[in-house]
């Protein structure tokens, strides 16, 4: 092979390499829209359904795919609740059917499934999707079709600005950051370094961390970022080590936050590490191993259920969910399943208030009137200007010790 021939071949190979990279990206929701049938007129809601027939609630969860650790417990919770609702006489005297569709965590699948639920299954409301991306992909559609949606994803953009038909149940980053800063104030930590992922989740954390810092009297002395596929964070942490930061705050999901905990040990960094609620799960502890010890994070109350004080207002709800889930599946529930629990109970109560034959608009209005619903993720009070409904109290601050969570008394 000549030199030129080799150069040309190499360039062709590079093009192939780029193809491999592209193949790793999830399809955008615009890609296969052309292949779909033109949208039918929105179904007229459920008012035509005969009294006595089952009420249908749609559910969109990432049961398989990259986000299956979210969607699987959500789907399990929904199946369990369908059974429990019906054994207890259904909703407003009618049997209930929860139609679960798998979004695979993909935007295009979520939109197709939402259309099927609304136009074919004629559901009165939808709970889910599991992820922020899949939720945003169907927001325009549910707004146009006038179907109430209670998302199980946390991005602030879902409920801010307020959209008429869209609600959410997970506690959000704004409240998580507020809790972290409150804890730092109590610990006299005034200078911090932040290390956020380049994903949407990390960008949201970066925004909240920088916006709330001045108000909390906290100075950000170093601002670094990472990709969730990165295999070492030594460069960023070495730079942070050279500053006078008293703590490091990491915002990201997947294995990268665990690598950061490990790399901090490697660099013999003594300052405390704070993580987001996104890694408040067993997977983070397993991945980081002993390096997880000492990490502080805001977390769902479910993981420290047995340590909560007896006057905890959510105690009864948390225990009910825990006991029911363990009895049904023989394993511990997590806060993702809790999102499905909260969303379905809010829909159930709204239908009960609106009456058995209520249409989608009446159910939406009643969801908005939800007041002091004590759930798994927190205590919900929606309003015309608030489709998020939670306060910072939804989180508990926890520290990892001996590879387990310890509730921090504040």
């Amino acid at each position: 092979m000549t030199r030129n021939g080799r150069g040309a071949a190499a360039i062709a190979l590079f093009a192939v390499a780029m193809l491999v990279l592209l193949a790793g990206c999830p399809p955008q929701n615009g890609v296969d829209e052309g292949a779909m049938a033109p949208p039918m007129d929105p179904a007229p809601g459920a008012e035509g359904a005969a009294e006595g027939s089952a009420i249908k609630i749609g559910a969109l969860f990432a049961v398989t795919g990259d986000a299956s650790s979210l969607g699987e417990p959500e789907a399990d919770t929904a199946k369990m609740l369908e059974k429990q609702f019906n054994e207890a006489g259904g909703i407003a005297g009618r049997q209930v059917e929860i139609a679960i569709r798998d979004t695979k965590g993909l935007e295009s699948e979520a939109l197709n499934a939402a259309k099927e639920l609304v136009e074919k299954e004629n559901v009165v409301a939808i709970v889910g999707p599991s992820r922020s991306g899949t939720t945003m992909a169907i927001v325009d559609y549910v707004e146009a079709s006038e179907v109430p949606l209670i998302s199980c994803a946390a991005a602030r953009a879902i409920t801010d600005p307020v959209k008429n038909w869209v609600f959410a149940v997970p506690p959000g980053d704004r409240d998580a950051v507020q809790r972290i800063y409150k804890y730092m104030n109590a610990q006299s930590i005034a200078k911090i370094a932040i290390l956020t992922s380049s994903s949407g989740y990390g960008a949201e954390g970066l925004k909240q961390l920088s916006e709330q810092a001045p108000g909390a009297g906290i100075e950000i002395v170093a601002e670094e970022s990472f990709n969730e596929s990165d295999t070492d964070m030594i460069a960023q942490l070495t730079r942070i080590k050279g500053t006078d930061a008293q703590a490091v705050v990491c915002w990201g999901v997947g294995k990268a936050p665990a690598l950061i905990a490990k790399n901090m040990r490697q660099l013999a960094m003594e300052v405390p590490l704070f993580q987001s609620s996104g890694v408040a799960n067993r997977r983070f502890i397993d991945a980081a191993g002993d390096a997880a010890n000492g990490v502080v994070m805001p977390a769902a109350k479910l993981i420290v259920l047995d340590q909560l004080s007896s006057d905890e207002p959510q105690m009864a709800a948390l225990k009910e969910y825990q006991d029911m889930f363990v009895a049904e599946y023989g394993r511990e529930p997590d806060h993702y399943g809790g999102h499905a629990w909260d969303a379905l109970h809010i829909v159930k109560q709204a239908i009960e208030r609106a009456g058995a034959g209520a249409d989608r608009a009446a159910i939406r209005d009643e969801i908005e009137k939800t007041s002091v619903f004590v759930g798994i993720g927190g205590v919900f009070t929606y309003g015309q200007e608030d489709h998020y409904g939670l306060s910072p109290d939804a989180f508990a601050m926890v520290r990892i010790e001996d590879r387990d969570w310890v509730l921090i008394e504040e």
Partner: protein, 292 residues
């Protein structure tokens, strides 16, 4: 930026570079025998780490046995790839064969995600996690394992090519396949050998890297591409060049992330690739004007 910080970037770059070097070596092995860039090379790395982590966590095997099993299984995967996908299409053009390896890589990755699920598998460090301080910068014992494995593997490969009949036959095929066949060397057997060796080398890289980065079904893609960049940088088909390319690339990446911006860390490898292709397509050690 202090000198100690730059020294720290250099040391951590050397560790990453060690894995890139091993992956580049795998690319060169298959390229020399077939003229094909095997884009499934990164998946061999993934398999090495995943199988070792599973063997230790689920089957309770000691590390050395788990690593041995991982190398053996990955080598078999490499052989199957050759027999099932490459050999039936051996009369096709090189580009077709390359696309077959791209397909194989997606297939292996998909299979791994079904078998192991999306979560990462941690692997304990071989000899403790305590940092070692060298002139103010820290490095883990695992980094030394990576560099040691790179060195030892490179020496073994050199010995195979220099002193064994199979190695010499593979070199003969790389230089002139027709002449080699006329001398009685069976080309298809040499191709099988190259896939087996490349898979084994990839698995070794995956095993020593896993305690640092954790094993996960999708780590192969980016590692494969970085290893490819390293192979081009060093001179495709040149073993020593690939190792040099890997180390240089790792250090450049760490320095770039540390001194410029960590956001462009992944871009640095590809910028280096483009510059090399424009200025010196034969790579650092590749001979201008022909195959080695």
């Amino acid at each position: 930026m202090t000198a100690v910080q730059v020294w720290q970037f250099f040391l951590s770059g050397l560790t990453t570079g060690g894995t890139y070097a091993l992956i580049a070596l795998g690319f060169s092995l298959v390229y020399n025998a077939t003229g094909v860039i095997n884009f499934a090379q990164g998946e061999f790395v993934m398999l090495g780490g995943m199988i070792t982590a599973t063997a230790i966590a689920a089957w309770g095997l000691p590390l050395w046995l788990a690593a041995l099993i991982a190398v053996a299984i990955t080598t078999v995967v490499g052989l199957v790839l050759d027999r099932a996908a490459i050999r039936p299409a051996r009369h096709s053009s090189v580009v077709v064969l390359i696309i077959i390896t791209v397909g194989a890589s997606i297939f292996i990755r998909g299979l791994a995600s079904i078998i192991w699920g999306p979560n990462e598998r941690p692997l304990p460090a071989f000899s403790g996690e305590a940092p070692i301080v060298i002139f103010g910068a820290t490095i883990t014992a695992q980094s030394l394992w990576v560099l040691g494995a790179t060195l030892v593997t490179a020496l073994i490969m050199w010995a195979i090519f220099e002193y064994t009949i199979v190695g010499k036959a593979m070199r003969a095929c790389a230089i002139n396949p027709h002449a080699a066949q006329l001398c009685g060397i069976e080309l298809s057997r040499m191709v099988s050998w190259s896939f087996a060796l490349a898979a084994a080398v990839g698995a070794i890289a995956g095993i020593v890297l896993a305690p640092i980065t954790m094993a996960q079904y999708n780590v192969g893609t980016m590692l494969g591409l970085k290893g490819f960049c390293a192979a081009i940088l060093g001179g495709l088909g040149n073993g020593l060049g690939g190792i040099l390319g890997g180390l240089v690339l790792g250090v450049l990446e760490a320095l770039g992330a540390g001194l410029v911006s960590s956001q462009y860390k992944d871009a640095i490898a590809f910028i280096v690739l483009i510059i090399v292709l424009l200025i010196r397509p034969s790579g650092l050690l590749g001979r201008e004007g022909g195959d080695p």
